[in-house]
Structure formats: structure tokens, C-alpha cells
């Protein structure tokens, strides 16, 4: 499974590129401030002071600040999930574990990425529409985030628990480790 580090390198380069693209797009909304001989754009897309309570912030119009970058945000999140799952595969490093763990990890990726995509789609609707219904006490996209995105990794936790004794740490691994430990102790004793 030597391809995994190359995949991870590719993903981290993509993340760098994506962040670069995001940073090159002017944040909206912004106000122009006149300073000594220059106009400075002060972005407010990541929060403005609440008009009534100055220790609180408000987000303002979702469409104005996210309309142009929603797809970039979706890509950013999706690459992150891809990166996480590739790392989980890297963690199941031993030759015996990886072939049989890749498929369930792939299913986990589809589940996680699917929930994230549904949350984005739901937010897109939330951002544009006036009707904002609640699901289990939260607006629909927030409900996807709390009840879906928070719990989706239970799949990976279940995978870790169910395959642990077979693929991650078997009795045979313990025996092999004891042998390595013995050899190491002999080596240390020889040097002392």
C-alpha cells in the first residue's frame, strides 16, 4: 500500500492550492476605509458586531458572504474527509490489515462525504429561502451537522472495535512483539 503517502501528498497539495484560491477571492461584504493615502478593504464576511449587543456577533446575509464560495467550501470539506479516511488507512499499516480494511473504510468515506454534501445542499436552500423549518429543535442544515456529521464517524469507531483482534492487534502480533522485545533486551544487555 505504498500509494497512500503519495495520495496524501497529493491531497495536501490540493488543500494548499484550494486555500490559495480562497485567499485570492475578495471576501464579501466589505467596507472601504480611507487610511493615510490609501483605501483599505475591511472584510465583514466572518462576522460583524451585533447592532444592539456589542459582545455578540452576527453573520449577516448568508447569500452575500457564501454565494460565491459555497462550492469551494464543499470541495474543502470533501478533500478533508478524503484526507482523514486516507490517514485511517495509513494507520492500519500492517500488510495483513490493509487489503481487508480498505473496503469498509471506503464505505465509511461515502457515508461521511454523503452526509457532508447533504448538509451543504440543505444550507444552500436555507441561505436562499425564507422558510426555515426546525428538525429536532434545529434548522435543517444545522440538524445535519449535529445529528449527521457528528455521529457519522461511529462507523470508523465500530470498524476499529470489530476488527481490532483480527487485524490491528492479534495474539500472533503480541507473540511477535514479545520476540522483538526479547531481542532488544539482549542487545541492550550486550552493550552494557
Amino acid at each position: 500500500m505504498n500509494f497512500l503517502p503519495k495520495v496524501l501528498f497529493g491531497l495536501s497539495l490540493t488543500l494548499c492550492l484550494l486555500i490559495g484560491v480562497v485567499l485570492s477571492i475578495q471576501e464579501i461584504p466589505f467596507t472601504e476605509i480611507q487610511t493615510e493615502g490609501a483605501h483599505v478593504k475591511s472584510a465583514q464576511g466572518h462576522g460583524m458586531t451585533h447592532p444592539q449587543f456589542e459582545t455578540m456577533k452576527i453573520g449577516g446575509s448568508g447569500e452575500a458572504r457564501h454565494g460565491r464560495i459555497l462550492w469551494l467550501g464543499w470541495a474543502f470539506g470533501l478533500i478533508q474527509i478524503c484526507f482523514f479516511v486516507a490517514l485511517l488507512a495509513l494507520g492500519s499499516n500492517s500488510s495483513k490489515a490493509q487489503p481487508s480494511i480498505l473496503k469498509p473504510l471506503g464505505v465509511g468515506f461515502l457515508l461521511y462525504a454523503g452526509v457532508f454534501t447533504l448538509m451543504i445542499a440543505s444550507y444552500h436552500h436555507f441561505m436562499l429561502s425564507d422558510s426555515k423549518d426546525l428538525i429536532l429543535g434545529l434548522p435543517r442544515p444545522t440538524a445535519w451537522m449535529i445529528y449527521g456529521l457528528w455521529t457519522a464517524p461511529v462507523w470508523f469507531i465500530g470498524l476499529y472495535i470489530s476488527t481490532f483482534k483480527r487485524l490491528i492487534w492479534s495474539d500472533n502480533d503480541q507473540k511477535q512483539f514479545n520476540r522483538i522485545l526479547e531481542m532488544r533486551e539482549k542487545e541492550v544487555a550486550k552493550h552494557n
Binding site: 494548499c16 485567499l23 459582545t55 467550501g73 482523514f84 495509513l90 434548522p139 464517524p153 469507531i157 472495535i161
Partner: protein, 499 residues
């Protein structure tokens, strides 16, 4: 009972602190060597380790700063909470087995010990120890300030107590913390973590229901009030916006594998196989305790918007204001003890790794051998780091506990995730790549912080500087390792990496 509210809160906190002192004295008898002081003799069971792992993660940042961020920014900071489920999965897949094996194989007592063995490099050991020390000072300072702030709030409400300053409450907090950490080392730390973890979970569940009762309409009522004022605040992105939130998601999910005060606990388990049970217990514990973070913030924001509670003077007040006004006295007492538990459980972990870096790793990296009478110096270093951090935070211009916490987390994440979480699972990773990643991470984080402070620079879209540092350090780490000659590993390390 309501008339004695403040006294009940004070008694609960005083009892909790007394319990910490008793544990410190008990642990003193079990601490006979540096191996005991730093690694608890590698004898920890499933429950102790699981509680220690999750309670060290959810610090004062989570219990004081977290609700404050939700009050100020709506749902934005909840991304730090929801990242925990994938974050713990990553930590255990990548390090649960590997760290424990390296620790036993080389009889290691600290994370830099294991890094030096893996990369065959004393420079890597030194840089890891340096990263830990720098991160510890900022992060520990945030914990100590959180403790002192909460204690000041409690004592100023007790009628017969003389007026106190933040300096005095900081001295009291540091004294308790230092006592049990100096006497019992990591043994005291993990056993107090067990008590702290239980208190945090119980407190969070009770507060969750108290908050639902405090706002008419429960969770739906809070969401509707916040949405009528500003729909974006209750959307998944809160007021920070999409890119900022997703940058936090990456930093907090992946960054968990680089938090030395958390992952060193994985080196202390009795059996390698215990990791199978520790993961689910840690995730469930964390998720329950984090309910407090979300619900207090949302309810206080809704109550202020409804005009039922005066505006707070700052976000960090959210938790204490909620407990003082909306929780029954005994529950408020338990939760305040829980707050101290959350803060202390992280702080003691930091003291332990900071002391190890100072008296064990730095001398080993520089002089190639450790100090004589290491146990004595470990205790002295514990005292010195705690007092130093208290002074640092007392005279630091930043007054937001949450931001200091984020800074510490970002430093550890960007510098240690490539070196530890990836390098321990990939034989081709080289010492040059690890050292470059650590130096780059430190330079980027400190560079951005300096630009923010002195040039008034603000990161577009609220993207976290820690995330940028983490992405760049990962890219450098993979790139340098892939394009350089594969390193030569010690045969025993190579054999363990094949398991």
C-alpha cells in the same frame, strides 16, 4: 437552599480541591521513580486511560471558552466539538497501538523520547521538546487563567469572604495544582482525571436539562430566537462563516493526534489491546461532556436576545453567569467543581509533559545524557512551569482564554501531527522532513500571530493560522520524505512498524 446558593457552590469547589490534595498525597507513595512520575509505570487500565484521554482534551477552553464562543459567534465553534468523533478515530487508528509499542520497546518516558528513537535523531528530540515547552506555556497559561477567573467569580459571591484579586485566586489555583502534580506526578494526574471525567459527564448532562428548562420552548425556542435575530448565527457556520469553520474542523479533527498531553496517555496503558475499549469510552465521555459547551452558549445567547438576561461583558462569562442564575444551587456547585475538573485535568497533563521536556529531553538532546536525580528536578520543573505560566498569562495583553487555547492547540497540531501521527506509520518519513515540518509550523504560527498583533493583519474568511500551518507542514513533510532517500531505521523500530 436558594439563599445559600453561593455558599453551596463554594463548599462543592472546596471539597473538590481537597479531594485533589488527598489524591496527591496518596499518589506520592506510588511515585518512586521518573518512570512512575512521567508514565505511571505503564500500569493504567481501560477506564482510567479513557477518562484521562477525554478529560485532558476537554479543558478550560471547552468549559469556559467554548460556551463563550457559542454566545459570541453562534454555531461556529461547535465545529471544534463535532470534529472530536473523527479526531479520536484518527488518534487511535494512527497512534493507539504504535505509541504504546514504541514506549515499551525503548522504555520511553516522554513523547520526544519516542520521536528520537523513531527518527534516530537528537535534533528531532530537541525540536519536539521545544514545541512542547512553547505550546505548554501558552496553553497552560490559558488553563490557569480560566481557573483563577472562575474561582474569583465564586469567592466574590460569598458574603463573609474578603474581596480578592485575580492574582490571589491565581495563586490559590496554582498552589493546589502544583501540590498534587509535584507530589504524585502523572499518577495523581490520571487518578484525578478519573474523578474529573465523571464529574464533567454528570455535570454536563444535568446542565443540558437545566438549560432546556431555562429557555421557553427548549432547544427549538433557543434556535427560533437566535434565527429571528440573525439566521446565520444558528446555521452550521455561525457568524464566522464557512471557510473559518471548516478550517477549525480540519485543525481540531486532525490536530488531536498532535496534542502531547493527550497522546502520551496512550503510552501508559497496561496492555496494547486496551486501545480497543479506550476509544469508544473516550468518545462517549467527550461527547456527553461537550453538551455543556453547546447548550450553555445557545441558551445564554437566546436569553440575552429575549431581554431576559443582561448582556454579558465578555464571552468568557457565559458559563458562570448561566450557572449563577439558571442552575439549581447544588447543580451549580457540581458544575463549578466540573469546571475546575476540566481545567485541572488539562493543566496537570501539561505540567507533566512540560516538566519531562525540560528535565529529561532537553538535557538528553544537548548533553546526550539525562540529569542526575531526575525525579527531584522533575518536581522542581513542575513548580517552575506552573509559576512561569501564571506570570505569563497575568501580564499577557490577550484576555481571551479561548484564543490562547486555540493558539496552543494549533502549535501542537501543526508541529507534531506530521512528525508523530504520520511518521510513526510510514517508514519512509525522514528526520529532515520531521525537523523541517516542526520548524515551519513554529515559524508560520508565530509569524502570523506577530502580524496580527503588530500589523493589524486579519486572516481572510476567518481561516485559522493553525490550519494553514498544519497544511503547509504536512505538505513539506510528505514532499521532503518522498523526494529524498529512504532513511535507515533501527531494526527493532522497523520490526515494530511492520506489526
Amino acid at each position: 437552599m436558594e439563599t445559600h446558593r453561593n455558599l453551596i457552590v463554594f463548599i462543592c469547589v472546596a471539597l473538590y480541591m481537597a479531594l485533589c490534595l488527598v489524591v496527591g498525597i496518596w499518589a506520592l507513595k506510588r511515585t518512586k521513580s521518573t518512570q512512575d512520575f512521567f508514565m505511571a509505570g505503564r500500569t493504567l487500565g481501560v477506564w482510567i486511560t479513557a477518562m484521562a484521554v477525554f478529560s485532558s482534551t476537554l479543558s478550560g477552553f471547552g468549559f469556559v471558552g467554548g460556551p463563550g464562543l457559542v454566545y459570541m459567534m453562534g454555531m461556529s465553534s461547535v465545529w471544534m466539538v463535532i470534529s472530536a468523533s473523527i479526531g479520536y478515530s484518527l488518534s487511535f487508528f494512527l497512534l493507539g497501538k504504535r505509541l504504546r509499542l514504541f514506549a515499551e520497546l525503548r522504555n520511553s518516558i516522554s513523547l520526544p523520547d519516542v520521536v528520537a528513537a523513531r527518527y534516530r535523531s537528537e535534533t528531532s528530540r530537541f525540536l519536539t521538546a521545544l514545541v512542547i515547552l512553547l505550546g505548554v506555556i501558552g496553553y497552560l497559561g490559558a488553563q490557569i487563567k480560566a481557573m483563577a477567573t472562575v474561582l474569583l467569580d465564586i469567592l466574590s459571591n460569598v458574603a463573609w469572604m474578603p474581596a480578592m484579586s485575580l492574582e490571589v485566586t491565581m495563586a490559590i489555583s496554582v498552589a493546589v495544582l502544583v501540590f498534587y502534580c509535584m507530589t504524585g506526578g502523572i499518577v495523581a494526574s490520571v487518578y484525578t482525571d478519573l474523578v474529573q471525567g465523571i464529574i464533567m459527564v454528570v455535570a454536563a448532562i444535568l446542565v443540558f436539562f437545566a438549560a432546556l428548562n431555562a429557555v421557553e420552548g427548549g432547544l427549538g425556542g433557543m434556535a427560533t430566537t437566535i434565527m429571528q435575530d440573525d439566521p446565520e448565527a444558528i446555521s452550521p457556520w455561525g457568524t464566522l462563516g464557512m471557510m473559518g469553520c471548516l478550517s477549525w474542523f480540519f485543525l481540531f479533527a486532525l490536530g488531536g493526534c498532535g496534542q502531547p498531553h493527550v497522546i502520551t496517555k496512550m503510552m501508559m496503558t497496561r496492555n496494547v489491546g486496551d486501545a480497543q475499549k479506550i476509544l469508544p469510552v473516550s468518545v462517549v465521555g467527550y461527547s456527553l461532556a461537550a453538551l455543556l459547551w453547546i447548550i450553555i452558549g445557545l441558551s445564554i445567547r437566546a436569553l440575552v436576545l429575549q431581554g431576559q438576561h443582561p448582556e454579558l461583558t465578555g464571552g468568557d462569562e457565559a458559563a458562570s453567569q448561566f450557572l449563577q442564575h439558571y442552575a439549581p444551587p447544588l447543580l451549580a456547585g457540581i458544575v463549578f467543581a466540573g469546571l475546575f475538573a476540566a481545567i485541572m485535568s488539562t493543566a496537570d497533563g501539561f505540567l507533566n509533559i512540560g516538566a519531562a521536556a525540560l528535565v529529561h529531553d532537553m538535557p538528553k538532546a544537548i548533553r546526550k545524557r539525562g540529569l542526575k536525580n531526575e525525579l527531584f528536578w522533575a518536581r522542581m520543573a513542575t513548580l517552575g512551569i506552573a509559576v512561569g505560566s501564571a506570570f505569563f498569562v497575568l501580564y499577557s495583553p490577550q484576555d481571551m482564554i479561548a484564543l490562547l487555547g486555540t493558539f496552543g492547540w494549533g502549535t501542537f497540531a501543526a508541529a507534531l501531527v506530521p512528525t508523530v501521527a504520520i511518521g510513526f506509520n510510514w517508514k519512509r518519513a525522514s528526520a529532515t522532513a520531521a525537523n523541517t515540518a516542526m520548524i515551519a509550523a513554529l515559524l508560520i504560527i508565530f509569524g502570523v500571530e506577530l502580524c496580527v498583533k503588530y500589523l493589524g493583519f486579519s486572516m481572510p474568511y476567518g481561516i485559522s493560522s493553525g490550519t494553514i500551518a498544519l497544511i503547509i507542514s504536512l505538505t513539506l513533510f510528505f514532499g521532503i520524505s518522498l523526494f529524498s532517500k529512504p532513511p535507515v531505521l533501527d531494526p527493532d523500530i522497523e520490526a515494530v512498524m511492520d506489526l
